[in-house]
């Protein structure tokens, strides 16, 4: 397959996802993208900001590259997987390059092509499940999403977490590293477990969802809280920003869990919630989108209850 064929496949998949979202969500997503692009455009007012956004976009593409699940497939169908990866990432970043050049008047953002090239060349082997013995001991037994996820992208997550610590003296830079970590974590919730694992808890739908959210939040807050506490200590006048991040990122984790069970089917991979999850995450930086995670939380709680009740009704 040629890179152009892959782009066609991606286009069809995107159209399907948008159709599945429905009108209201599509509108919210479109508005989110639009304002996101405006935000990016405004950010390109200085060379320093362009460099920051270059670094941010590079990390984002690296997260995407390491968390995507079609590496083996692409290696099978194409003799040059690099061409496919690079074409896809370039297509994704192209609007940002245009916006940056148009606003800043300098081609500095074009340097993003270098990390894109390097990332596209980075191999992700068939055996993606790297043993992460130490970190997995810290994760509760019932949190199989994180145990599995850490084996897939644990290296990147640990790197981002260390970066968030290292960046605490730079205003809000640690939050950006934590945001990328949260973005990586969002991919932990794509796979639906088989019903044996769902029923192993012996809980009804309500107990199950509450337990699930509690365990996921415990695991998430353990590494994140120290970073935010140190940041708050260094910038005491902005403590509320770190507190807001803690609250809204926790809401996002709950959204990931509920989005998964709102559409859960045994042993199926479901990424239909990924766009909405991504919008909720962007909401952490765009104030007008802040209510979205709360809205999705309530909506998906109801949907998850309805979806799980027939499976877990015997455990009340």
């Amino acid at each position: 397959m040629q890179p152009i064929d892959f782009l066609r496949v991606r286009k069809s998949a995107l159209i399907r996802e948008i159709q599945a979202l429905g009108f209201v969500y599509s509108l919210i997503v479109a508005a989110g993208i639009f304002f996101g692009l405006i935000f990016f455009y405004k950010l390109q007012d200085s060379q320093l900001h362009s460099v920051y956004s270059l670094a941010g976009v590079s990390i984002l593409v690296a997260v995407l590259h390491f968390s995507r699940k079609d590496h083996q497939f692409i290696q099978l169908v194409s003799p040059h997987p690099f061409h496919i990866f690079f074409t896809e990432y370039l297509t994704l970043v192209l609007p940002l390059i245009i916006l940056s050049v148009a606003q800043s008047g300098t081609p500095i953002f074009l340097l993003v092509l270098i990390p894109l090239l390097i990332i596209s060349l980075l191999p992700v082997t068939g055996s993606r499940f790297i043993a992460t013995g130490f970190t997995n001991k810290l994760i509760p037994d019932t949190n199989f999403e994180w145990k599995s996820g850490m084996r897939k992208t644990g290296g990147l997550l640990i790197l981002l977490w260390l970066a968030s610590f290292a960046l605490t003296p730079v205003p809000f830079a640690s939050l950006i590293a934590l945001w990328f970590a949260l973005l990586t974590v969002s991919s932990f919730y794509d796979d639906g477990e088989p019903w044996e694992m769902l029923e192993a808890y012996g809980m009804d739908a309500k107990q199950f969802l509450h337990h699930k959210i509690k365990v996921q939040l415990q695991t998430y807050l353990l590494p994140v809280t120290p970073v935010l506490l140190i940041s708050g200590f260094i910038f005491p006048e902005r403590w509320w920003v770190f507190l807001l991040f803690l609250i809204f990122s926790s809401i996002n984790i709950s959204v990931f869990v509920l989005s998964k069970y709102a559409v859960w089917r045994p042993a199926e991979v479901n990424r239909s919630a990924s766009i909405v999850n991504a919008m909720c995450m962007i909401g952490l930086f765009l104030p007008f989108l802040l209510p979205l995670p709360v809205f999705v939380l309530i909506r998906n709680y109801r949907k998850a209850m309805l979806n799980l009740k027939p499976v877990l009704h015997d455990y009340h």
Binding site: F129, D141, T142, F144, K147, S148, G149, R151, K152, D191, E193, P194, W195, E196, M197, E199, A200, Y201, G202, P266, A267, D314, Y315
Partner: protein, 232 residues
């Protein structure tokens, strides 16, 4: 006693179970035999509550069947990616006082619990699913083709384990399309045909079973092969 009355179930427009009336003694191993597509898996799925019946009732000792009292092993169990056998087993809670020592059970089945399930063979996955079921210690076990994919030693171990579970008072319903695997183990073998329990046999009636069940089928197969070998 498990009593199933007038059970009708199927998929969309196709009725698979056509008014099953079935009484099973508790604390026994019951074999469920039948040709492919006869409804063995459908019956187990309906009993476990994965598939909703269109009508009928199912009770155990006068209590409506529910998931809290049973475990179900699927023909081809699916596992979550990226977790180890140990992590999978740790999710299951054990009912009752007795202990379940995962490492010892795993060593009996030669199962490397610290390895990722993604690296397991089909047989190893089947064994892991079985350990999950043994761990939960529920009174009724529904096992769909549990011998599929197991090697000779594991098959013998499984037979021995199931016999021991029966001694502990468990009721086991096990399906197979190979009659011989059922006669070694079961107290009763029930033959499912045309969506109903057609006949029930004792294990020592293997030759009668073979005769009754397969005489007509064998004749049909012979005729078909004759036609193929000697075309007009």
């Amino acid at each position: 006693m498990i009593i199933i009355k007038a059970l009708v179930a199927g998929y969309k427009n196709k009725i698979v179970l056509n008014g099953i009336d079935w009484s099973l003694e508790a604390g026994r191993i019951h074999g469920l035999a039948g040709l492919n597509g006869s409804g063995k898996t459908t019956l187990l799925k309906v009993m476990f509550g994965i598939l909703k019946p269109q009508s009928g009732s199912m009770e155990i000792n006068s209590v409506k069947l529910n998931k809290r009292m049973m475990s179900f092993l699927e023909t081809e169990p699916y596992f979550y990616h990226g977790i180890t056998g140990n992590e999978y087993l740790s999710l299951f809670k054990r009912e009752g006082e007795s202990k379940f020592i995962a490492e010892e059970w795993a060593s009996l089945f030669h199962l490397p619990l610290n390895e990722l399930i993604d690296n397991y063979s089909t047989g190893m996955k089947k064994k892991l699913a079985l350990l999950g079921i043994i761990k939960t210690n529920k009174p009724l076990l529904l096992l769909d083709e549990p011998y599929n994919g197991l090697d000779l030693e594991s098959s013998r171990i499984l037979t021995a384990v199931l016999k021991r579970l029966k001694q502990e008072g468990k009721t086991i319903i096990i399906t197979s399309h190979l009659l011989e695997s059922l006669t070694n183990l079961c107290d009763r073998i029930h033959y499912l045909k045309n969506g109903v329990i057609d006949k029930t046999y004792l294990p020592e009636q293997l030759s009668v079973m073979n005769d009754e069940i397969f005489r007509e089928l064998d004749q049909h197969i012979d005729n078909k092969i004759d036609d193929l070998m000697n075309p007009m």
